[in-house]
């Protein structure tokens, strides 16, 4: 195949840069590879509907150095290659079928007027370019760089696509290596980046002639696609030998026990597939696309082959999405009690347009037996399955995972922090394990109130979440200024914390309150570090120093104040002797005393009583009078039996006015109701003032 080295140009990425572009050094490389390759396959599904299928087959085998050297003899330094790989290497093939394959133009010269670059150009020749649909897994177009980190940097892309009425095979290779490395494979390069393809001077493009393609496949020992198959095979020769998690050692340097699947790449890939795609792998109930069928070295990975914690996660996914267990439900098969399983809507307020939840969460409390940790299975604990390290002391940390539409677990979180997905749940009692799955409703639209959403069409939750993932899809972080994920997470956390803590029998955790009180008496200030009542009522907050002290002293003009001096009961009524402090506020204004009914929701006036259709108002004013000295300067008038008004005769306002008011009780209506007198400035006058 012909070599095309990338020339150094302004703004040109280099190999060393691309190898670091994925920004993820904490995840074992094989996990990254499984996540990226399966996601690419799912994005390319021929039939995107639920109920369909996408197949991905992983194959790990050995290969000879010489066969690769002969295919890539143009451009590759054979001495360096043989020096670095004297005994051949290991090759990984990732082959997806029931997918579209690497479609689209073969080179940039072929890009049509619509500007569509197609899958081939995007995957092989472009960095930072991504699929445009919101449901796609990727968002950055950087994930594909992980292929170059798995081996010597050489990646062969082989695909079969529909072409006219028939099919076309396409094969192209790329190499990305650290251009500063003294033992680099490319002889003359300043960028560390090169391609191999057809012999054409216009630039790199795949070879498409069947005999040429088949020759290369033959040299690499790769089977061609056959019959009506379309799809893509990613072939990575010269695999590195450090793709597994680094061996952990204790303080004394002794190596800690690694899980059995760390013994080979094949067994690790099997676990990684379940770890990240448990919701979609062999799950006919997967709801947002075709299910995933996977093979590793020819062995299918069925649901029952997954580690129990991942089977449980799939069962939880099905419950979160469908609300009920499906056939062959794992949790039912191991007899998890109904009260140990939760299914709830996660509905934070005000982040979505319209009513309804943002998604659903399902959780389960599982015993060691239910997770297959006892005889005869002796499966490792969930912490080991998910993170590769055991959670040795109960209460075990909660495990929560969440996913977008592609059904890949974004991450597994075991945080016990209050802001984590489990809401600060420290663990559950009875040495049980807590597993939870959150699935958002992808087509919900974000609330239009958000300023940046206004311009464009309604942004779906799925699109927003996709924009919140980094290149490795390993976390959701709110875009600056938004609190969508934070609100969802805290809502989910509250639900999970309540579920996990409700299950706690009172005997397991006790606040030891006497000790809490006595120790506080010994070492803490008396108040301020708790909410105990033994010190009496809380100290009222002191005056705020920055508000100054003036507030109350300089009160404004006083308002009218009513005082009942005496009450005399008569047949079907009462006579009230009252005193009204006239008040200095707007002294010329009319004062009004109204008769109301005391009710649970406060005083109720006659108009409100009648407006509510409650019948006859139980009290009415049957007469009113003033004491002589008040009558000299104030007029009293009736207000339709609902009260009286007091009006100044001249300019001089009294300090206090005394008078009487006769109240009549409607026969049988009064009962336990209580009359109430309310005094104040007449509203109409107050409005004019």
């Amino acid at each position: 195949m012909r070599y095309y080295g990338l020339q150094l140009q302004p703004m040109q990425e280099s190999g060393a840069f691309l190898l670091r572009a994925m920004q993820n050094e904490h995840m074992p490389r094989l996990d990254l590879l499984v996540r990226e390759s399966v996601q690419n396959a799912l994005d390319a599904a021929s039939d995107r509907r639920a109920g369909g299928e996408v197949r991905v087959a992983f194959q790990v085998k050995t290969h000879a150095t010489g066969s690769v050297a002969s295919v890539f003899s143009d451009g590759l330094n054979p001495e360096v290659l043989r020096a670095r790989y004297p005994n051949g290497g290991k090759l990984l093939e990732i082959r997806d079928t029931l997918t579209d394959g690497l479609t689209g133009p073969l080179s940039f010269d072929d890009v049509g007027a619509d500007g569509d670059h197609g899958n081939l150009l995007k995957l092989v020749f472009e960095i930072g370019r991504t699929r445009s649909d919101d449901s796609a897994g990727g968002s950055w177009g950087l994930g594909k760089t992980c292929y170059f980190r798995m081996g010597a940097g050489l990646v062969i892309y082989y695909s079969r696509v529909r072409h006219g009425d028939g099919y076309q095979e396409r094969l192209v290779a790329g190499l990305v290596e650290d251009e500063t490395r003294p033992d680099r494979l490319q002889q003359g390069t300043r960028t560390g980046i090169g391609w191999w393809g057809g012999s054409d001077d216009s630039g790199p493009r795949p070879i498409t002639r069947t005999f040429e393609v088949r020759h290369v496949l033959g040299m690499l020992g790769i089977a061609p696609f056959a019959d009506t198959e379309t799809g893509t095979a990613i072939i990575i020769p010269f695999l590195r030998d450090d793709l597994l998690p680094a061996e952990e050692r204790d303080e004394d340097g002794a190596s800690l026990r690694s899980p059995s699947w760390c013994s080979s790449y094949e067994s690790y890939i099997k676990v990684a597939l379940a770890r990240w795609f448990c919701a979609r792998l062999d799950n006919p109930l997967f709801s947002t696309g075709p299910r995933l069928t996977a093979w590793v070295n020819g062995t299918p990975i069925r649901r029952r082959d997954m580690l129990p914690v991942f089977q449980a996660a799939q069962a939880l996914y099905n419950r979160a999405v469908h609300g009920s267990p499906g056939p062959g439900d794992y949790l039912e098969s191991v007899n998890v009690a109904a009260d140990a399983v939760l299914h709830r809507a996660v509905a934070p307020r005000a982040i979505l347009a319209g009513a309804g939840p943002a998604g659903h969460v399902a959780a389960a409390l599982l015993t060691a037996e239910q997770l297959g940790m006892g005889e005869p299975e002796n499966r490792p604990d969930p912490g080991m399955c998910v993170f590769g390290r055991s959670d040795t002391t109960p209460p075990y940390r909660p495990l929560v995972t969440f996913m977008r539409r592609p059904g890949m677990c974004v991450c597994w979180e075991d945080s016990t922090e209050s802001r984590g997905w489990a809401g600060g749940l420290a663990g559950v009692p009875d040495n049980r394990y807590f597993v939870a799955v959150f699935v958002p409703l992808h087509d919900r639209a974000l609330a239009p109130s958000d300023r940046r959403v206004q311009a464009a069409a309604p942004v779906t939750l799925e699109a927003y979440l996709r924009s919140c993932e980094r290149a490795d899809h390993a976390a959701w972080h709110d875009v600056s200024g938004y609190r969508v994920i934070e609100r969802i997470r805290s809502n989910c956390g509250r639900i999970l914390r309540e579920f996990g803590s409700r299950a706690a029998p009172a005997t397991t955790v006790a606040p030891a309150i006497r000790m809490a009180r006595n120790l506080a008496d010994l070492v803490l200030p008396e108040r301020g570090m708790g909410m105990d009542g033994r010190t009496g009522r809380p100290t009222p907050p002191g005056p705020s120093p920055d508000k100054g002290g003036g507030g109350r002293g300089r009160a404004g003009p006083s308002t009218p104040a009513l005082d009942v001096l005496d009450v005399r009961y008569v047949e079907h009524g009462m006579e009230v002797h009252w005193a009204l402090v006239w008040g200095t506020m707007n002294p010329q204004a009319v004062r009004r005393i109204t008769l109301q009914v005391d009710s649970e929701s406060g005083p109720m006036a006659m108009q409100d009583w009648q407006a509510d259709g409650l019948g006859t108002f139980p009290f009415r004013v049957a007469g009113a009078g003033l004491e002589p000295e008040a009558a000299a300067i104030v007029d009293i008038g009736s207000e339709e039996q609902g009260g009286v008004v007091l009006r100044l005769k001249g300019d001089r306002a009294p300090v206090t006015v005394r008078g009487t008011l006769k109240i009549h009780f409607a026969p049988g209506a009064a009962g336990t109701l209580r009359p109430l007198l309310m005094a104040g400035l007449a509203e109409s006058v107050r409005e004019n003032a």
């Binding site: 002391t393 109960p394 016990t416 209050s418 600060g424 009172a506 005997t507 397991t508 955790v509 006790a510 606040p511 030891a512 309150i513 006497r514 000790m515 809490a516 009180r517 006595n518 120790l519 008496d521 010994l522 070492v523 200030p525 008396e526 108040r527 301020g528 570090m529 708790g530 909410m531 105990d532 009542g533 033994r534 010190t535 009496g536 009522r537 809380p538 308002t559 009218p560 009513l562 005082d563 009942v564 009450v567 009961y569 008569v570 009462m574 009230v576 009252w578 005391d598 109240i663 009780f665 009962g671 336990t672 109701l673 209580r674 009359p675 109430l676 007198l677 309310m678 005094a679 104040g680």
Partner: protein
């Protein structure tokens, strides 16, 4: 707006002296333990002193002895609140705006003829179930009309409606359930026979933000451990800590101060210097700073810190013993 609530029948004080009050002698109990009530003066009572009583788990029974019920005699008949042959009811009432709840105890029936003699004491009680009270509540003796009897002609103010509320016969006792009293975040758990005797559990993101409460930081004691009983030996006496508990406490405090100081660096020294009492719930960092201030702890290094916490605790124990 100024309001005055009236009643369609005569209510207290009616013909009793304006300042009439039944004298209350309250006793607070709970089914299985002493709730640790203390009179703070002015009718205010607190609960929980040297007690495991917890309003979420334990009930509260308030019993009140009243010693001047005989003085209620004028309430029957003309000028009183009820007819001479009426039945009045008195009962303890719990009202708490913080709990959003009110409750009446079993009432005592009073008739004019059956009033207790002057020297007789009468007891009322009120049962508050666990998990029903919080904040602050008031207890008072309320008067109700039990049976109206036959009203005399010429006294239209007499109550005629059965069950009507006629007013409070006593002052109000204020019972404080929740306040701002400090609690040490200590918890007991079953960590297994092979688990540690104690551990520090932390769940804080920022010790300046999270409160010093057991949800965020706790001294966890292992009930399953063989030495657990030596942590809470009742024979050590009221409000005394066993030597082992003192040592656990010292280690935990030193560990907390060390962790907070390591996390916050110089910011922590600033919090220690800032002696301003906070109105809100104290944060973990403020609690650690309070330890440093109260014990004059030397935080220059971990081993010096561990020693100085022990010395402080020994001093504190001597001081509290001397006060008893």
């Amino acid at each position: 707006m100024s309001t005055a609530v009236l009643s369609t029948c005569r209510v207290l004080p009616a013909n009793l002296p304006e300042d009439f009050r039944l004298k209350m002698h309250p006793v607070f109990r709970s089914a299985s333990l002493d709730p640790g009530a203390r009179h703070l003066g002015g009718g205010e009572y607190s609960l929980g002193t040297d007690s495991d009583w917890n309003p979420d788990l334990h009930n509260l029974t308030v019993t009140c002895t009243l010693d001047n019920v005989a003085d209620l005699e004028p309430l029957f008949g003309p000028g009183g609140v009820a007819a001479a042959d009426a039945v009045l009811l008195i009962a303890l009432e719990w009202t708490s705006a913080d709990s959003g709840w009110r409750r009446l105890g079993s009432p005592l029936r009073l008739t004019r003829a059956g009033l207790p003699a002057t020297d007789d004491r009468v007891t009322l009680s009120l049962e508050l179930p666990s998990g029903s009270v919080r904040g602050t509540g008031m207890v008072a003796v309320q008067l109700f009309l039990g049976e109206p009897g036959s009203a005399e002609a010429g006294d239209p103010g007499t109550g005629r409606q059965k069950g009507v509320r006629l007013g409070a016969l006593s002052g109000r006792l204020c019972v404080v359930i929740d306040g701002d009293g400090s609690l040490f975040p200590v918890q007991e758990e079953e960590l297994g026979r092979d688990g540690p005797l104690w551990k520090m559990r932390t769940a804080w993101d920022d010790p300046r933000e999270e409160p010093f409460a057991s949800e965020y930081v706790a001294l966890v004691l292992n009930r399953d451990h063989e030495l657990f009983d030596q942590l809470r030996d009742r024979r050590a006496g009221q409000n005394r800590q066993t030597p082992l508990m003192r040592h656990v406490l010292a280690s935990w405090i030193a560990l907390l101060v060390h962790e907070v100081r390591t996390g916050l660096g110089e910011d922590f020294d600033g919090i220690v210097r800032r002696q301003v009492p906070t109105v809100d719930f104290a944060s973990i960092a403020e609690a650690a700073a309070a330890f440093v201030r109260a014990g004059d702890l030397d935080t220059s290094s971990a081993h010096v810190l561990f020693a100085s916490v022990q010395q402080w605790l020994d001093r504190r124990v001597r001081e509290t013993e001397a006060m008893k």
